[in-house]
């Protein structure tokens, strides 16, 4: 499937949640949609899912608008960090209801995951703990087998072991049936290896859209004596630099090999760090 985002803006009152963003996503692929709170990630995902309307611009999925379009909405499953399901419903009702709305729904997988995450079919959503409710969201997202599955911070309250289980199942399911998975999370380091492409949003704009491998290859940290590092980075694009006890570490856009050839210590930058500094830098630049 192909998602074309064309000059999309969304305003809430005077606040610009999205500010004329344009990009294209083509699947199947796992995308990491990153950014700080209020960057516009959730708004983008809601417009993409047809839950809200853009103020300006269009999102096209295989050439069609998602809003009020059954063909498209049944191809998209958005699981948010909370409030996905009505609290009075039982788990079994949630599964049954979603089965009606997703033609590729995998009931066997849903029940297998219910066992895996130790949920009770007769439990009401309001009786579930935060982690269990997140698990239910994850189960629905995976079992929907929607060609575009979107997880927006899906595992609030889920313990580390369950999160690990989720990543494993997500990869297994992705291998079985490739699709576009858009993953928005603040626990970036945990999932960054899953990402094939990374989008970083900042203040309603797209700050970066890059293949994850390219991003890893194109950026690195340089460590060495202050003068040596300063000299090396003088003609390069610097993301951030830090000094401590006569040593300097700089995050730069450069290949690790070139740094090593210069006799400096090169290390890859975790995507989480990159996101933090890129959004900070962007913020500074816009001031």
């Amino acid at each position: 499937m192909k998602i074309e985002v064309k000059n999309v803006s969304k305003t809430y009152g005077k606040k610009n949640a999205l500010d004329h963003i344009s990009f294209t996503l083509e699947g199947p692929k796992i995308y990491g949609l990153l950014g700080r709170n209020g960057a516009g990630k959730t708004t983008f995902m809601e417009i993409l899912s047809g839950h809200v309307l853009a103020t300006k611009g269009d999102i096209l999925i295989d050439g069609e608008k998602p809003f009020d379009n059954q063909k498209i909405t049944e191809s998209i499953c958005l699981i948010k960090e909370g409030d996905n399901f009505k609290k009075d419903l039982k788990v079994k009702h949630v599964l049954r209801i979603y089965e009606y709305f997703y033609p590729k729904w995998d009931n066997e997988l849903a029940h297998q995951l219910i066992q895996e995450f130790n949920l009770k079919l007769n439990a009401k959503v309001k009786a579930l703990s935060k982690g269990m409710e997140s698990a239910l969201g994850i189960i629905v997202g995976l079992a929907s087998r929607a060609p575009i599955t979107i997880f927006d911070e899906p595992y609030i309250g889920l313990d580390a072991a369950s999160r690990k289980k989720f990543y494993e199942i997500l990869l297994e399911e992705y291998e079985k049936e490739k699709r576009i998975v858009i993953f928005s999370t603040h626990l970036i380091d945990e999932v960054s290896l899953l990402f094939e492409e990374v989008l970083i949003m900042q203040d309603g704009n797209l700050a970066l859209h890059e293949e994850a491998d390219m991003l890893r290859n194109r950026t690195c940290s340089v460590t060495g004596k202050i003068e040596e590092v300063e000299k090396f980075i003088s003609e390069r694009e610097v993301i951030v630099k830090k000094q401590l006890a006569g040593m300097m570490t700089a995050y730069i856009f450069e290949n690790e090999d070139k740094v090593n050839k210069a006799g400096l210590k090169a290390e890859s930058i975790p995507i989480q760090e990159l996101m933090i500094y890129l959004t900070e830098r962007k913020k500074g630049a816009s001031r």
Binding site: H51, Q70, K86, I97, E99
Partner: protein, 232 residues
């Protein structure tokens, strides 16, 4: 019937069962206790009056209003189209009204039977159908018409509050209230009631059903572009 409409009807039904059960448990318990008390009092000077349909009308109104806020955002999150939402909400409102009209009309008949069977004098059961003829079918038609009207009206109010917030909903209510008070002051309301009362036939309640259908049709204006964003 499309999968979405079936799914939404299933969602509405599952979601409504608890409220409906609570309503009937409260109504039946109150009724049973009152009839029991009336049986033991057995004094024609002390009479309790029951209009069993009124609680059902109130239930429909509250349910219609809350249905918008509590169910529509979840329906949209499940990917329902606005057309499916409009059709399935309409079917559900109609089915629930029919079910409640059948139950209230039957319960009224049963209550009168028990009252007569045990010669209970301290309780009486009233119904708007006494203005015509107090038969099961008349009670059913009147209840259905009133419930549909109240249900759809409050559903549309719910939509106005959802789409335009307190300011929008409050403004609409104010306009209706002012119009009502003006009509009341001018004597139009009294004239209308008197005219309808003197010429009342069952046809009038079919007209109310027609008005309810028109009101529901108007809801499309608000449903057409509805999103998960509720205006406060």
């Amino acid at each position: 019937m499309s999968r979405q409409i079936k799914g939404l009807l299933y969602f509405y039904t599952i979601d409504a069962i608890r409220s409906i059960l609570i309503f009937w448990i409260i109504l039946l318990s109150t009724l049973s206790i009152s009839v029991l008390i009336a049986y033991f009092i057995d004094d024609p000077e002390i009479v309790m009056y029951f209009v069993l349909s009124f609680p059902a009308y109130i239930f429909c109104g509250i349910f219609g209003f809350l249905m918008v806020k509590q169910s529509i955002p979840f329906a949209i999150k499940m990917g329902v189209t606005r057309k499916s939402l409009f059709i399935s909400s309409g079917i559900f409102i109609l089915l629930l009204s029919v079910m409640k009209a059948v139950l209230t009309s039957s319960l009224h008949g049963l209550s009168i039977y028990i009252q007569n069977r045990f010669s209970i004098q301290s309780v009486d059961f009233a119904h708007p159908a006494v203005m015509l003829a107090d038969t099961w079918i008349n009670r059913f038609i009147i209840d259905l018409a009133c419930m549909l009207f109240i249900f759809t009206l409050l559903y549309v109010f719910g939509l106005v509050f959802y789409r335009f917030g307190l300011i929008g909903g409050g403004s609409l209510l104010s306009i209706i209230l002012i119009a009502f008070l003006y009509s009341f002051a001018k004597g139009w309301v009294a004239d209308y009631i008197m005219t309808q009362y003197s010429t009342l036939t069952v046809l009038y309640f079919f007209q109310i059903v027609g008005v309810a259908i028109i009101i529901y049709g108007l809801s499309w204006v608000f449903v057409r572009n509805i999103t998960i964003v509720k205006v406060v």
